[in-house]
């Protein structure tokens, strides 16, 4: 019974094969078909997802949207690679494609990034060549993964890990007790920084540090009737946006932070301590709780036009 069943299966299979062969007899069908990108057949005849360099997942991405005429073929990025394509077996090691992006590639970073910039130079990448990343031999492929549906550096919950691979000191910072919600995946490095370069300082998304901070903290912008000079000049004079052991991302805790600028007249030269009163003399009044800000509550500025009891010093 088994024998007949196998014979039947074989006949069915042969019949199906005949149909396939008939189809295969059409001249066009003899050409290998593109799989992921337009014109990729010359590459995907050998390379697929089981290869040492799996390639087909690019078909799941924007690059693989073949209806968009702007999208690339393999050779758009990897070069014509004639030596690699036409290599005859038995004639030594197959040369690598003209442009490769792996960690061990010997292709210059400028060339690798240049491939991407052919299409992606505009918009937020206008300043790439002036950027610290570019001049420090970081290429697009150092951070971006193209042959995958998800590019980790473009996923908010995973982006920071890509950045921390080099910026190890910031990995420390975001884990401090006072931090922006980077480790929680609610704020990404790219919310503040443009890793592709920017016209302003520190590769920030806005032209200055303060303008970048105001994107989310616009209540601090003012101007106010009473302004606090360093607040207007630079938020990071008092805050470390990447993380701090002090509450509210402060660079130092009170009263030391304030004593870095303020004269020691009146109560301002008081020593920090665990005793004393809640007043302004040395001790807990300027050290515990919010320290100097226990009284100088509106430290970023106040718009109160009236001075009743010296509260022009950000107390009302």
């Amino acid at each position: 019974m088994t024998r007949y069943a196998l014979l039947f299966l074989a006949l069915v299979a042969l019949g199906a094969s005949a149909q396939e062969k008939k189809a295969a007899a059409q001249p066009a069908a003899e050409q290998p078909a593109d799989k992921a990108l337009n014109g990729d057949a010359k590459c995907t005849r050998c390379h697929d997802e089981n290869d040492d360099y799996p390639v087909l997942a690019i078909g799941k991405t924007r690059h693989g949207t073949r209806a968009d005429a702007r999208t690339p073929s393999c050779t758009s990025c990897h070069g014509a690679s004639e030596g690699h394509l036409n290599h005859k077996s038995g004639s030594g090691a197959r040369p690598k494609p003209d442009v490769t992006f792996s960690k061990t590639s010997t292709v210059s970073m400028e060339t690798r990034s240049g491939v991407c910039l052919t299409c992606h130079q505009g918009g937020k990448r206008i300043h790439w060549q002036m950027s610290m990343h570019s001049s420090r031999d970081v290429s697009c492929s150092s951070c971006h993964v193209v042959h995958a549906q998800e590019d980790r550096v473009r996923v908010k919950t995973e982006q920071a890990d890509v950045c921390f691979a080099c910026h190890t000191e910031l990995r420390m910072a975001v884990n401090r007790q006072s931090h922006h919600p980077v480790r929680e995946g609610k704020v990404a490095c790219s919310d503040c920084h443009n890793a592709h370069g920017a016209a302003g300082e520190k590769s920030l998304v806005k032209d200055s540090i303060n303008e970048t901070c105001y994107s989310c903290h616009m209540e601090k912008r003012g101007p106010f009737v009473r302004t606090h000079q360093p607040v207007q000049e630079n938020c990071v004079l008092c805050h470390n946006p990447h993380g701090s052991n002090n509450d509210n991302l402060l660079q130092a805790r009170s009263p030391f932070l304030c004593q870095q600028c303020h004269e020691p007249t009146s109560h301002r030269g008081g020593t920090a301590g665990m005793t004393g009163t809640g007043g302004t003399s040395p001790g807990i009044g300027i050290t515990l709780a919010r320290g100097c800000l226990n009284c100088h509550t509106n430290i970023h500025g106040t718009n109160n036009p009236k001075d009743i009891s010296n509260e022009r010093t950000f107390r009302r």
């Binding site: 991405t61 918009g123 036009p305 009236k306």
Partner: protein, 676 residues
Amino acid sequence: MSARSGGSLRRCALALAAFAACSPLRAQEGDEVKAMTTPESSLGAGIGYVSQDNTRFGQYSGLTKEGLYPLIDLDLRRRNDETGMWTILRGRNLGLESNELRWDQGRQGSWGYYLEYNQTPRYSQYTALTTLANPDSPNQVVNGVAAPYELELKTLRKNFNGGYEGRLSGNWTYALSFKNEDKDGRRLFGRSGATSFQEFLVDPVDYNTRQWEANASYTDQKWQMVVAYNGTSFSNYKTNLSVTGSTSVYTPIALPPDNASNQASVTGGYNFSDTTRATFKASYMNQTQTASFIDISSTGRTDLGGQVTTTFLQAGLQSRPVKDLTLIANVRYENREDKTPVVDYFNFTTTSTATGENEPRSIKTLNGKLEALYRMAMGWTAVGGIEFDDKKRNTSSVRVVSFRDTTDETTLRAELRRSMSQAVNGSIAYIYSNRGGSDWQQTVITNGTTGSNLVAPIHLADRERNMLRGKLGWAASEKLDLNFVADYAKDEYGGRPLGVSEGTATHFAVDAGLRVSDIWTGTAWLSTDDSRTTLNSCENASSVGVCPGSAADPMWTAKWRTSSFAMGAGLRGKPRSALEIGIDMQYVEDAGKFEQGPLDPSTTPLPDTKTKRGTIKLYAKQTVDKKFSYRAQYTYDHFFSNDWQWTTWRYGDGTTILTNPDQKVHFIAVQLQYGF
């Protein structure tokens, strides 16, 4: 038929079947290729359990209360291969307060739009035990409630964003975007109390922030340009805080005023050749603040009439005059001009440290950079650069802090590095900078007397900075990558006897990537930080800057140090074809030391602080079939701190703050995932 012939027939039949099966395989292969090149979608639904109330583990996710939480995630992607039309719906944490939902749709290369909603909670790490009444209101009553109650301090941001982009013609595209954020909640606040003992209050946050942008972009091989308009507005629905229940005079308290801005900009880049490129940006912003005053002004004005204009210009040039040499030049200018009218608001008669006028703050910054990179043999590159940064500020005629109109800083940078493509690569960089500035404008009190001028504010002081940074990457084998980073920086301040005199910072990190086998991969890292600052001051200096220097009012030095140690490790594996497992561990320890001396005899020294956090995450994903899988997750999070900042503190109204210093949370979650 003999047994032998029967065997032949079986083999023959098998061979025929195998041969013939090759054809359907081609069809099957087509399906497999399609599956491998078609965007994948997934849905996940499950439930998570938080073992105890906390303020750290769930600070930004909302997982702060013991109990069950729905866990819903989705990532739906559909692409029409004929038209290039994408439709994407992504949602994360849909059962939590930190939920995010985004819809994208568009024909790639032609047009597209998105709509997005997301929330970010922030639970304060502190809980107030207070008798304050009406904490969510702008009319709060100190000791307005008989019995103390626990008050949760929390804010919630709700964002609704949208945007559209399209192609105009040729190389022109345009984009419109809009962001709306409502933020409300309670923030820890306070004021000077009736008898110099501070009182606890709540900032009843109720903000709306809007940002919108329209831009047009041109891109071709030579030219790229973006012309943009940006607008912003900030509204505070609770403009002041009126406080009763105590004899403190500090009421009403001004809360942040409404403000708005409009900005126009043009950004561009031009490739003169394959080796030379120029970039530029020019922008102008007008920012206003005309919120009605919360209190009557004796000037007769009803608002500040605040206006700040900011002009920003940047130009850069990058060129490779010869094959191995790259030159970069960049100059940046920003003029932030505070044009707010100056009015004597306070009409002081008793104070000696202010004129009563508002103090508009203007600042001009000019920054320039020149850098040369020379590529040598064996993958080596040498980098040399010089950068200058000049700032010019305005000030008022009466000051309580010494001031400098201008500061100028010059930075020299030298670096030698070996290309990242080598098995052993690395870099060593040395940076030196020197900041000086104009003569000090001394503090002046209103009667014309020179005030105290002992401190050079840290951002204006003369400063010499030396930094050394080394990096080493070593691909030890095909299975092991190691990366080392070591930094050292030292700042020395001068020019004044008091203030910060010195600061140092060191950082060391080692990262390892390990491919144990085709099944197991791992990562591990370890980092340390150590920063130290020295500050000099004195107690009770006179108004003209004479320090008593006595035992009761000593000249003193504070040396505070923050040191951190952190390590992490992760292991991922696929021990069976249908099973993925992973573990991530992280431990962070931050220590603070505060050495002061000599101390005022009445004060007790500050104890050291230590904050520790350890997290272990385990997950397992079992695939049931091509579409269904289960994911189980376990997280243990332990936060500990012995920080004394709030522990013994009691507000004048009796409020205390609970710091929740030792929090251990177990979180268990199971999710059914459907992929297609």
